[in-house]
Symmetry: C2
Subunit: 415 residues, 2 copies
């Protein structure tokens, strides 16, 4: 008997059959005695259909009207899911973002939630109904419809969980949870039972995209236990919780993230003067290119090299910008290497366990993998290496830090 | 410079191209200095698509959730129309039924409007914007989304015109207005410049379906001038107004309505006792069959015949019910004639012009058309005749009452 908030994404409610399956799942929780608040996204494809309509009218749709348009997507899903629940004899009631007063600021298409009136939902739960809320949307103080931007439904779910002091916020997706690394690369990748918010943030931003970063930050800030689990398969998924709740005996490393399609740019022989890093990197950022790992090595002769990585698709544009700058600051040359990737070890345990870095470098050296760049943070060590070694490096590290599933291969039903 | 409310139906906004054309039309009124409030329906086909989704989930969708679902249709249109206006430099702002507080009762899928808060709209008009409101929908006092049922967008438009004291409520459709009769039957049918609410009610209910009856009643009750006109062609359309505003020199007859696919049922030789009409007709009505023209002729020998018409598609079911009743009341027989139709003359002028009926009967007699049933009301005379004479009868009456367009054939652009 607990109050739980569940969120089902577009794929989970992508057809009438899937909506019916979600209804069955919800009823399972009701039968265990839980109070359930459900947040749903638009059926997969619907948001794209609506966006295409708008783009047919104008190239840059008016944000306020875009929100009015897109908000219909989730509204369709809440109605259909309630029907599926009611058909099965389970009381249910749908609410748009506006109806439960998910109050946001006025930033159309990327609004931020300010507060939620939980009374209406609590009253409805007391009547024994499942409450189904449209994700991704709210209203500003003037009653205008707003939307929360990418991953907005996750944010709605977490915000509702906070407002309702829910025991848990469950995010249903098409994966079983968070793994030590991508199971497509390492066969015995292990499903993590739990992970800290900080680790999740690093893993998510490094490519293990299961949850929207914003909702993880939000849940972490308000200390709402967040669980990622599969809509389509049974299982407990992965619990994302506070550091203190994680068993200190857990391994130091939570997982290995990696990013393909990186490119490395080196501006060689730049003058060693204050502000030079900004002179070089500023114009690249200003052009809307996301700059990732940055290292600067002071050389011996009064000049140095600045190296950083960008997405491969944006690397040619970055190179052009840098060529101009190089000329103006009299740098020696700009070198673009499109064949690199990034591999990162993530774990809050790094803080208390010494020697993680050297163990990492040794594992890579044992495989003759040359490290081009190293960067570290409190809970993460990243290396940039030749992309051809990506899988080899991930597997070597996964094995070196004993992250593998000890039961791998024993259970034929295992993912 | 006037405040006008315009309503565009599903066909008028059925594609992006049509929405753009509607935007152009609205801008034309703005440029003349009018304040414009626009009510739109869902894009044609959208309501059917949504209904199909719901029916895939459950045979009899929960009314409350059906309303949540269907209300998205109009919400999509208001957003797209506003974008089309804004792209053309015309300020515009969309509102759902709930956002402008179209307060209804709680009868989901067939709600009635109780009141409208006109302040929000008036404030927006003062800013110079076109206000675009989703038709067909409202909210009840608890904030639940309701819909107004068939023709609901017409009702929204009229209700807004009443609440805003609009100078006129314009209903844009795919016809040029109201004709003296169906132009497909009578080539020189004349587009009426004006017609009274009462006449419009009779014409609408008799088959000339241009406007929903409910919205005409509503407009008549609150004395809002209503105009029916074409989205796709230029023209003044037909003004529906109060009787006193109609020129007394106008012809006595406004138009000729007719109904095909009627069937006539006669229960012959029923006992001539009080309440017998109810005994016979009650069970037919109770079965949900709409009974139209009813006549009862007392015979000479203490028995009489009761005759009435129903829709042909429901006549077999009605016959079955009547056969049982006939047995129980010892009537002689039940006769079903599936080959009848109804033709009606409509006009408030009947009240002041004598001899309309006899002129009608003579016109039919001149064509050797046998009248099977006659019924009259203050502003209407209906006859039931053999269906094979339908077109002949309508043309004969149209000519006898000189309803034809005197300019017919002179203007090549005329409909």
């Amino acid at each position: 008997m607990a109050l739980i908030v569940q969120k089902y994404g577009g794929t989970s409610v992508g057809s009438i059959e899937r909506i019916e399956a979600v209804a069955e799942k919800i009823i399972g929780f009701r039968e265990k005695g839980d109070d359930v608040v459900v947040v749903v996204s638009a059926m997969s494809g619907e948001t794209n259909r609506l966006t295409a309509l708008a783009l047919n009218v104008m190239e840059q749709p008016t944000p306020r009207e875009m929100d009015v348009l897109l908000a219909t997507g989730e509204q369709v899903t809440i109605a259909l899911l309630c029907m599926a629940l009611i058909k099965r004899g389970c009381g249910a009631r749908s609410f748009t973002g506006g109806q439960v007063r998910i109050l946001t600021d006025e930033s159309h298409t990327k609004a931020r939630i300010r507060e939620i009136d939980s009374n209406l939902i609590l009253t409805q739960l007391e009547k024994g109904d499942v409450v189904v809320v449209a994700g991704f949307q709210g209203v500003d103080e003037y009653g205008n419809i707003t939307t929360l931007g990418r991953g907005g439904s996750d944010t709605t779910a977490v915000a509702l969980a906070v407002a309702l002091s829910a025991a848990e916020c469950q995010i249903y997706t098409d994966v079983k949870g968070v793994y030590t690394t991508d199971p497509r690369v390492v066969q015995d990748a292990r499903l993590l039972k739990s992970i800290t918010f900080e680790e999740m943030l690093e893993l998510a931003s490094l490519g293990a995209k299961v949850l929207q970063i914003r909702s993880v930050e939000f849940a972490g800030k308000y200390k709402v236990p967040l669980r990622v689990l599969s809509t389509f398969e049974e299982g407990e998924g992965t619990l994302i919780s506070l550091e203190e709740e994680i068993d200190m005996e857990d391994p130091a490393i939570a997982g290995i993230a990696f990013e393909r399609d990186e490119a490395k740019l080196t501006v060689a022989g730049v003058p060693d003067v204050p502000g030079i890093a900004y002179t070089v990197i500023g114009p690249v950022s200003d052009a809307g290119i996301e700059v990732d790992v940055i290292v600067q090595n002071a050389g011996v002769e009064g000049t140095n090299d600045i190296t950083f990585t960008v997405k491969r698709a944006e690397s040619d544009e970055a190179k052009k910008i840098l060529d101009k700058i190089a000329k103006s600051i009299d740098a020696r040359e700009v070198v673009l290497d499109k064949k690199v990737c990034k591999v990162s070890l993530v774990g809050v345990g790094m803080r208390s366990h010494a020697g993680i870095a050297s163990r990492m470098f040794k594992a890579l050296a044992d495989e003759n993998i040359n490290i081009q760049i190293i960067t570290t943070s409190e809970i993460k060590i990243s290396v940039v290496i030749d992309e051809k070694y990506l899988e080899l490096a991930v597997r070597a590290l996964h094995s070196a830090f004993e992250l593998g599933d000890p039961d791998y291969g024993k259970n034929p039903n295992q993912a």
